[in-house]
């Protein structure tokens, strides 16, 4: 074992280097190098202590410690010893406060089956991820290392040798081959997920190099490919690139044969063998939010695996004996033995459970600043701490005044006028919202990257974010909306009263969304726009957003850190998430269409096309500096002529965490969709002081 005292910043490079190992020694151009140049500039701006001294190990520790829970199984021979279960180069979780203690159970909740968010919060491991030290540096996670060609077209991915599925079978490129050739590219069976679908549906070529190496090639530069790999769900291979062949081949016609599958079809009442396969193998439609209730025996790569369903809606997880991460001294992770997830039907019941001390963890989707006083007052009684984090999801409201409204051409013309969004934005008193809904604890502003982002400029946050109803009125008057009716509302050019509707999907968007939208409605009524608000079911909201029928939508403003800045930019531009937000579903459809001349497409104006072009270029370029420059061109333009109305720049994320839990993320780090919840912070390395909850 080689111990060394290092500054955290150095540690980042060294970990990356160490993990790359011999296999990728000649990595040219070193992608880590690219990251580093940017990262050095960045660190000063991160509002957390980065320079603190930490004891880290630059090489994989030699010793391996057996978790006590598994000792009996090793002793009676049902489980091989830890040395044989771990890969040759396990992932080493460093940068923690302490070496942890084994044991304990974490009680969490899930609400409903489609939106069972806690699963990915703790269980999603990805191929790559951003370092939790600065949220800017790419580091391999499931992968051992990776290599990119200089032109950004070819990527070689190195898997961890000796890594195993949770049932003990080795993970090899056979599983990659099975995913790609037996499932993803088979017509009528699977599909090609985000990263490998490339740009405009120009799929990657996948080439198996050896048992642990495969190569991904595109016909064009696809510089953000490694970044997109940070968005893969891990343990549950919804989109690859690993499907456990040894398990799934029993349901595949090429391996199991027609007769066996016919039997299964009859037994299950299914009509095609593809349905059989997707029920057991491909996990039809399973996204990162979904709950693996079916998956008791399904092999995974996650830190905990579901082992029991003692009651409906209740799932007990146990440590994955083959999990591939260790701590600095070679203890196999996770420290915590069990997770337990209860189904909770109402948010009020959930909060009662939390303040009553029945939960050890209430995650980012469930906590809200609106209940902060309640959380804080019950800290003692509930034996928990309220985390001091920044939200990049919860409670961050953003308004999406739709630019295209095919059902109402007159309003559409108004909505596309550059003054419109500006006027709506400056009519909002953000400080009042801060006081009323955030207890004055948020930092208000326009919709922009969070201040910790390398894309951030103070001007973005301040753009059209002042409270100036006089200016709003002036802007609207300038647009020719100066006629008023008897009730004081403005008149549209066609003589009708200027009505505007905000629609939202209820507390799914945020706990205080009713109050928020109601306040916004009154601000807009004050400048002569007859504004109403309406809650509708989420499915209806999605459908109406997709059809550009909603005048103004509301969602939470995640995707505002560097972790998603080049990958998912739907909140800024019409490039995705059109069912939840974004400026225009019609323009998004145009942008996504392969044939731009196809019927029914709406061509956006030149300015939007320019923005989209910069966005597409951001996805292509290899050089991170160039990407940031392109991004800032987009944000400069948006600051001048905003397409959406942000309200919150930074707000607290008051996670509820059992008092004994340690090795948690540092205070004031961002937590949300961008970080995949806890996943970026290696929850496998969290532990209970004394091995038990308080």
């Amino acid at each position: 074992m080689k111990l060394k005292k290092l500054k955290r910043r150095e540690f980042l490079h060294l970990t990356a280097g160490a993990v790359l190992g011999a296999a990728a020694a000649a990595c040219a151009p070193d992608p880590v190098e690219v990251e580093r140049t940017v990262e050095v500039e960045k660190v000063v701006e991160v509002p957390v202590e980065v320079e603190r001294e930490v004891e880290v190990i630059v090489e994989v520790p030699e010793g391996r410690t057996e978790p006590p829970m598994l000792e009996p199984r090793v002793a009676d021979g049902t489980l091989p010893p830890v040395e044989e279960r771990l890969p040759m180069t396990p992932f080493v979780v460093g940068g923690r406060d302490a070496v942890g203690e084994y044991g304990g159970e974490v009680r969490q909740i899930h609400h409903d089956t489609v939106w069972s968010v806690s699963t990915y919060d703790w269980l999603a491991d990805r191929l790559m991820q951003y370092s939790d030290a600065d949220f800017t540096t790419l580091v391999p996670n499931m992968l051992e290392s990776w290599e990119a060609s200089e032109d950004g077209t070819t990527f070689t991915l190195y898997m961890r040798r000796g890594m195993k599925w949770s049932d003990g079978e080795p993970l090899t490129t056979e599983d990659v081959d099975h995913w790609w050739n037996d499932w993803a590219t088979v017509e009528g069976l699977g599909w090609v997920g985000a990263a490998f679908a490339g740009i405009q549906g120009e799929w990657a070529e996948i080439e198996i190099v050896d048992d642990y190496t495969f190569r991904v090639t595109y016909d064009y530069p696809f510089g953000i490919f490694p970044h997109v790999l940070t968005r893969h769900p891990g343990g549950y291979p919804a989109e690859g690139p690993f499907i456990p062949k040894h398990f799934c081949q029993d349901y595949h016609i090429d391996y199991a044969g027609e007769e066996a599958l016919q039997g299964m079809m009859d037994e299950l009442g299914l009509e095609t063998w593809e349905q059989v396969y997707n029920r057991f193998g491909g996990q039809w439609g399973l996204n990162v939010w979904q709950f693996p209730t079916y998956a008791q025996e399904f092999p995974t790569l996650a830190a905990w695996i579901p082992v029991a369903y003692p009651a409906e809606g209740l799932i007990v997880f146990e440590r994955n004996p083959y999990y591939w991460k260790v701590d600095l001294v070679g203890n196999q992770l996770p420290y915590i033995d069990n997770l337990r997830l209860d189904f909770v039907a109402s948010t009020e019941a959930m909060h009662l459970k939390a303040i009553g001390g029945e939960l050890d963890w209430l995650g980012m989707h469930d906590v809200t600043i609106a209940n902060f006083p309640l959380y804080k007052e019950n800290e003692e009684a509930g034996r928990y701490r309220v985390g001091d984090y920044l939200s990049c999801m919860t409670d961050r409201y953003i308004l999406f005044p739709r630019q295209t409204l095919p059902g109402d051409p007159v309003l559409e013309e108004i909505a596309q006028h550059p003054n419109w969004v500006k006027a709506l934005s400056v009519a909002i008193d953000r400080e009042e919202i801060n006081e009323s809904l955030f207890f004055g604890q948020a930092r208000m502003g326009a919709h922009a990257p969070m201040p910790m982002s390398k894309y951030y400029k103070p001007a973005y946050g301040n753009a059209w974010a002042q409270y100036d109803p006089a200016l709003a009125n002036q802007l609207l008057d300038e647009m020719g909306l100066d006629g008023r009716d008897g009730a004081g509302f403005r008149l549209r050019p066609d003589g009708q009263r200027l009505g505007y509707h905000i629609e939202h999907a209820g507390i799914r968007v945020g706990a205080s969304v009713h109050e928020f939208t109601e306040m916004v409605a009154t601000f807009w009524r004050e400048i002569g726009i007859e504004t109403t608000t309406r809650e509708i079911a989420e499915s209806l909201y999605n459908e109406r957003m997709l059809a550009d029928e909603i005048h103004c939508g509301v969602w939470h403003a995640d995707r505002v850190t560097d972790m998603l800045m080049p990958v998912e930019m739907g909140w800024f531009l019409p490039v995705g998430n059109q069912a939840q937000g974004n400026p225009s579903a019609s323009w998004t459809a145009w942008h996504q269409a392969e044939d731009k001349e196809a019927e029914g497409l709406v061509e956006p104006p030149d300015r939007i096309k320019q923005l989209l072009e910069w966005h597409d270029r951001m996805r292509e370029v290899v050089d991170e500096n160039e990407r940031v420059a392109l991004g800032q061109m987009i944000f400069d333009d948006l600051a001048e002529n905003p397409l959406q109305i942000g309200t919150v720049l930074e707000s607290p994320c008051p996670l509820i965490i059992n008092r004994n839990m340690q090795n948690l993320p540092r205070p004031r780090v961002p937590i949300g969709w961008d970080t995949y919840g806890m996943s970026t912070f290696h929850p496998a390395a969290f532990y209970y002081e004394g091995g038990e909850r308080a």
């Binding site: 009680r107 609400h111 409903d112 089956t113 489609v114 017509e187 009528g188 599909w191 985000a194 679908a197 549906g201 968005r231 769900p233 919804a238 989109e239 009442g269 593809e274 349905q275 997707n278 029920r279 039809w284 439609g285 399973l286 996204n287 990162v288 939010w289 979904q290 709950f291 209730t293 079916y294 998956a295 029991a308 003692p310 009651a311 409906e312 809606g313 209740l314 007990v316 337990r340 209860d342 189904f343 039907a345 109402s346 009020e348 019941a349 959930m350 009662l352 459970k353 303040i355 009553g356 499915s539 209806l540 999605n542 459908e543 990958v567 998912e568 995705g576 998430n577 069912a579 939840q580």
Partner: protein
């Protein structure tokens, strides 16, 4: 009598078919469908889904077929194999998800109904006999209060007060430690200790309403001539009550039996959600929101079928308790 019963049972079949069709229409009514919803979820999680992919999913899950074909497939599986389909949201067969939950829901509904009758019928008779006594006023007042307070709201307040003022955990059907254990005597006791609250909350409204109806019916009957005649014949008050007015007065309650069930299911849904019970209601609610149509369909269909069955019982009971109806029905039919 037997002929009547057989006829009554035969008559239920077209009803059940009609219910299954209506159920199928209801679960198709909300906008969107499961595949669209799943695709949106995939998109929201950063996956781009192509048009072909979407069509492929539609095909795979039979959503591209005409409505009647889907209906026949759905109902066919239920009738021939008792297979309620597959819950895409829970990723397992609907029957597996719903059966336990249905059991609890049914148990709570049944207990509430029993509580309702055990309390309401005697109390209703009593307050009718003792009209204008203090008891009558008190009961009248309480029943009105019971009918006026929204149960789900009461549930929330009780939960909060129990937790913060008395440190008692309320909600759910089991304590967390028993939830993971197999059935045992201790677990059963634990269930009972948690069951009373939903049963009472659910029963309050129904009890109050039934007391009102019972009292009103009794008052009408008591003033009828035959009661005076009976009294003149020297029958004791109890004999008079039990022999005639109660039997007549109970009619509307028996005919109300059949719609008590869906009422308990529907009214219970809000209480179940607030109290966070492992019952069918919350699962149905989320299934509807998630477009998990096999799940929602199974629930509505089962409730519908159960209600039909209880309607048969209620009609037979009615015929037993009031022979005039029995003969009238035979004549009319």
């Amino acid at each position: 009598m037997l002929a009547y019963i057989i006829r009554r049972i035969l008559r239920a079949f077209p009803q059940i078919i009609l219910i299954s069709i209506l159920t199928f229409i209801i679960i198709q009514l909300p906008p969107g469908d499961l595949v669209t919803q799943q695709i949106l979820n995939l998109q929201a999680s950063g996956v781009e889904v192509s048009q072909q992919h979407a069509e492929m999913l539609m095909r795979q899950y039979g959503l591209d077929r005409p409505m009647h074909e889907r209906y026949l497939l759905w109902i066919g599986n239920i009738v021939t194999r008792f297979d309620f389909g597959y819950s895409y949201a829970w990723q397992k067969p609907v029957a597996e998800v719903i059966m336990d939950r249905m059991g609890y829901t049914f148990a709570i509904a049944l207990l509430s109904a029993i509580l309702t009758w055990v309390v309401a019928i005697p109390v209703g008779i009593f307050v009718a006999v003792k009209q204008y006594s203090i008891t009558d006023y008190f009961v009248t007042f309480m029943t009105f209060i019971g009918m006026a307070v929204p149960g789900f709201f009461l549930a929330m307040v009780i939960m909060y007060v129990a937790l913060t003022r008395f440190g008692i955990r309320v909600g759910g059907l089991f304590s967390p430690e028993y939830m993971v254990q197999p059935w045992s005597w201790g677990k059963f006791l634990d269930l009972l200790s948690n069951l009373w609250l939903p049963v009472v909350l659910l029963g309050i409204g129904g009890t109050a309403g039934t007391i009102r109806t019972m009292r009103a019916m009794m008052l009408d009957e008591l003033r009828k001539l035959y009661v005076t005649v009976a009294r003149a014949k020297g029958l004791s008050e109890t004999q008079i009550l039990v022999r005639y007015p109660v039997r007549v007065a109970i009619n509307p309650i028996i005919s109300g039996l059949m719609w008590l069930l869906p009422w308990l299911f529907s009214g219970g849904l809000l209480v179940e959600i607030v109290l966070n019970l492992p019952t069918a209601g919350p699962a149905l609610y989320s299934a509807l929101l998630a477009q998990d149509m096999h799940m929602a369909g199974a629930y509505i269909l089962i409730v519908g079928a159960l209600t039909i069955v209880s309607a048969i019982f209620s009609d037979i009971l009615l015929a037993v308790s009031d022979p005039r109806i029995r003969f009238g029905a035979v004549e009319g039919a």
